[in-house]
Amino acid sequence: MVKDQEFLKSKASYCLDLAKKMGATDASVTVGHSISETVNFRNKSLEASDRSDGLALSIDTYLGKSRSSISSSNLQDENIKTLIEKCFETTKITPEDEFNSLPDKNLLAKQIGSLNLYDETRFENDKKIKYLKDLEESASTDNQIINTESSFTENKSNFILANSDGFCDGYKTSSFTTSCVTVAKDENSMERDYEFSSKRHLSDIKQAIDLGNKAAKQTIRKLSPKKIGSDKISIIFDKRISKGMLSAFASAISASAIARGTSFLKDKIDQQVFANSINVIDKPDIIKGMGSQNFDSEGVNSNTLQLIENGILKNYLVDTYNGKKLNLKSNGRSGGTTNLYFEKGNISYEDLIKKNSRSLYITETIGHGSNLVTGDYSVGATGFLVEDGEFKYPVNEITIAGNFKDMFKNITLANDLEFEYSVNSPTMMIEGMTVAGK
């Protein structure tokens, strides 16, 4: 069983009291406990089981405007004492930073409603095994599939965040995650693809058979890929890739990147950064949402934020420290976005695919080719050549490149948005990018 609120609260207040006693002017502490159980399958039989049970503690101590932090997994009182002493000694010799402080008291979350983020259902390993058997059975029906690997993880977590201004709250969360990776082979090639499902509640997890089928189908269609010639061509990003554009955008508007001047979106508030039709929203209070939260990692209340409105940048993602630097109030985004999404567009998936006589449909990218200082983007890609709305053949060993500043302004979104993950996007088309191939 995951430790209860009382246990975590008692550890948190022990830490705060001790820090105060030693002379810290302020302190904040997070105590968490998490239990995970994973079962792995390979080629329709059990491959591994993994159980993890972990406590974690992190403390920030302040002496005026000096701050330092410690973290540990050892929650014995004696060890905590040694660590807090060390932390406070370090704080004393750490130079002051005028922007260091606990969050403003009036911004702290007060009333905390239930977002239904915890499902206490136990899904015993035997049941996980049954689920994975069904999944791999359905993933292996085609004889081109030569390897299947799948896993099911059940996680239960609890935490308390407390600070010396009297904030003390936390809540339990759960997640159930299952994934399937399949390898297919034909005379020309060997390819891999995947499918997964991750939910707060067990009953929302995709059916094993559907997941297995989908993984296999997505893998088989990649067989015997071709390399295409270098070209400027319109690119359609599958949903699982288009959401990555949102993640890059979110990193570029974090108050930390803005305050340091290392973002291509610095000083762009109230300016057009996306096409007119684009709206981007970050909504923390979606019931059962994978990214939902009652408050951010500093205890600050977080409300829904419209980040992009009709293409115009409206908000950064602000935490306390960088907010003070930028003269902005924290908007509860210490720790980043919550449930981030593009509002759906007004063209159907089918029409988007047909929009150009020739386009490239991307299902996977590899590499870390996003430069958030300059906006330059260049990654390896895998996908399909689409002609007149039809998938012609799989394509690989190519790269796609552009600059976010131009790419964002040339986005067209389909109307197929679904809320599956913590970052969600409809299928996306971007015009004007360069493909490098043969």
Partner: protein
């Protein structure tokens, strides 16, 4: 050396007994105990932005029978906790029986000193170096708009207890010093990053004001990039500089030669053992035994002494990298490549220091031989799809080559290639093999471990450069 039993109700004898009893009917497994102390100090935006100290303690208990691995970890070292884990392992493996393999090779060699780098240098003196870095760079040039510098240090003590009571221990120091600088000129911004590190004390790296060299290098890379033009797009010849660009070897070849992917036949290399996979001049080794290197290990995380494993010799595929589990299932021996990020993770076969050895040509000859291509000197990260063999890496410093001469710098671009065929495109191997500066971390299955790479300059006849200029 940590004593894992002095603050617990669990005695050494209890642990030995429980380990033997749990693993009695298994093929392999061990109790892995780990204590780590780590520190990170970050200067950013003219200030000490954070100083963090962390201590971590825990165990991972593993039992293996046939192809099934059962694993359980906890950060509470106690009788109850270990018993719970034991029950958990037994329940997974209840219907599978094995015969425990007691054999484990021994060695007295050590590849780093038993030190705690964090304690060897006072916090004050570390803060002083970071502040000097900041002042030095900001005074150096008016275009310097942002400086980030950091120290990270760690000491990790491990003990491996095997069935029958055999115990193996190791103490591993690791440090890293990193500088990132952003320049702004005529409205353009570019960054340059450089770092050094390994399994030594901070002072071994910072003597003779060596931090200045790190600053100069980060500044030089950023300055070059301020002048960069859009990179070309398409297939062309690529000359790679020596040292860190060997992450190409790591991504393109290294991962595909890890035992697990080959046992599962999901690697593009699984049926190529003994075959010619590279041009004659190409020899690649994975070496865990180089003194004080970031990827070196005295013993791996299963207790096997590390070694210098020849992967490809004169173009012929010779060995895969193995941990005990995959080695047993493939009827071979462990190469001392069983690694894990920490006690929370299972062991996987991983790289250590992956190196392409020197040939006898010069970088000059390579450049001169290229009509149109690029010269890539430094890289960010890379990634590979093991199954299709396709891999990428990102240039952070590169130039165009025209008619045998190095031309303008080009913007960061991704290079993409095919692992099994890329070594056949290596047509010249330089005489200038160099180790990387000690900054690599390899990610696999969600686990990051420190690694090293090395290579001489090489000429690749055909690779796709992912620029924007057609």
């Amino acid at each position: 050396m940590s004593n894992f039993f002095n603050k617990s109700d669990l005695t050494r004898q209890d642990a030995d007994k429980l380990v033997s009893e749990t693993l009695n009917n298994c093929d392999d497994g061990e109790l892995y105990l780990e204590e780590s102390k780590s520190e990170s100090i970050l200067l950013d935006d003219n200030k000490i932005k954070s100083s963090n100290y962390s201590s971590d303690l825990g165990f991972g208990f593993r039992a293996i029978s046939n192809e099934v691995v059962a694993y359980s970890y906890s950060n509470e070292i106690s009788k109850d906790s270990l018993k719970n884990s034991s029950e958990n392992l037994k329940s997974t493996l209840k219907s599978i029986k094995g015969i425990y393999n007691h054999e484990i090779p021994k060695s007295n060699k050590k590849f780093y000193k038993d030190i705690n780098p964090i304690e060897q240098k006072t916090l004050d003196s570390k803060l002083e170096v970071l502040n000097k870095v900041n002042d030095f760079l900001r005074k150096k040039d008016g275009s310097v708009k942002q400086v980030t510098a950091s120290f990270a240090g760690e000491q990790k003590s491990i003990e491996i207890i095997r069935s029958g009571g055999e115990a193996l221990t190791d103490v591993r120091p690791l440090i890293r010093f990193n500088v990132s600088v952003m320049l702004e000129k005529n409205g353009r911004k570019e960054t340059g990053v450089y770092g050094i590190g390994g399994r030594q004390s901070y002072d071994d790296y910072l003597k003779n004001d060596n931090w200045k060299n790190v600053c100069e290098e980060a500044f030089r890379i950023a300055s070059v990039n301020l002048e960069s033009k859009p990179a070309p797009a398409g297939e062309m010849k690529v000359v790679l500089g020596p040292g860190w660009p060997a992450i190409l070897i790591h991504e393109a070849i290294g991962h595909g030669l890890e035992g697990d992917f080959n046992r599962k036949k999901t690697s593009a290399f699984h049926d190529l053992m003994g075959e010619k996979v590279a041009n004659e001049g190409v020899t690649i080794v994975d070496d865990g035994t180089i003194d004080n290197r970031r990827g070196s290990l005295t013993i791996d995380d299963e207790g096997t002494p590390t070694e210098r494993t020849v992967l490809i010799e004169n173009g012929i595929l010779k060995n895969f990298m193995q941990d005990r589990h995959n080695a047993r299932l493939m009827n071979t021996r462990s190469t001392g490549s069983g690694r894990r990020e920490n006690y929370r993770h299972i062991v996987l076969p991983r790289m250590r220091n992956t190196m392409m050895l020197s040939g006898n040509q010069t970088q000059d000859e390579m450049i001169k031989s290229v009509d149109k291509g690029i010269f890539a000197v430094s890289f960010g990260g890379g990634q590979v799809d093991i199954t299709s063999g396709k891999f990428v890496f990102n240039c952070t410093e590169a130039y165009e080559i025209n008619n045998g001469k190095i031309g303008s710098p080009i913007k960061g671009a991704t290079l993409i290639g095919d692992g099994p065929s890329i070594l056949k495109e290596v047509s010249m191997v330089g005489n200038d093999m160099m180790l990387d500066p000690g900054i690599g971390t390899c990610g696999k299955a969600g686990q990051g471990v420190p690694v090293g790479v090395a290579q001489p300059s090489i000429l690749i006849d055909k690779m796709t450069v992912g620029g924007t200029k057609l």
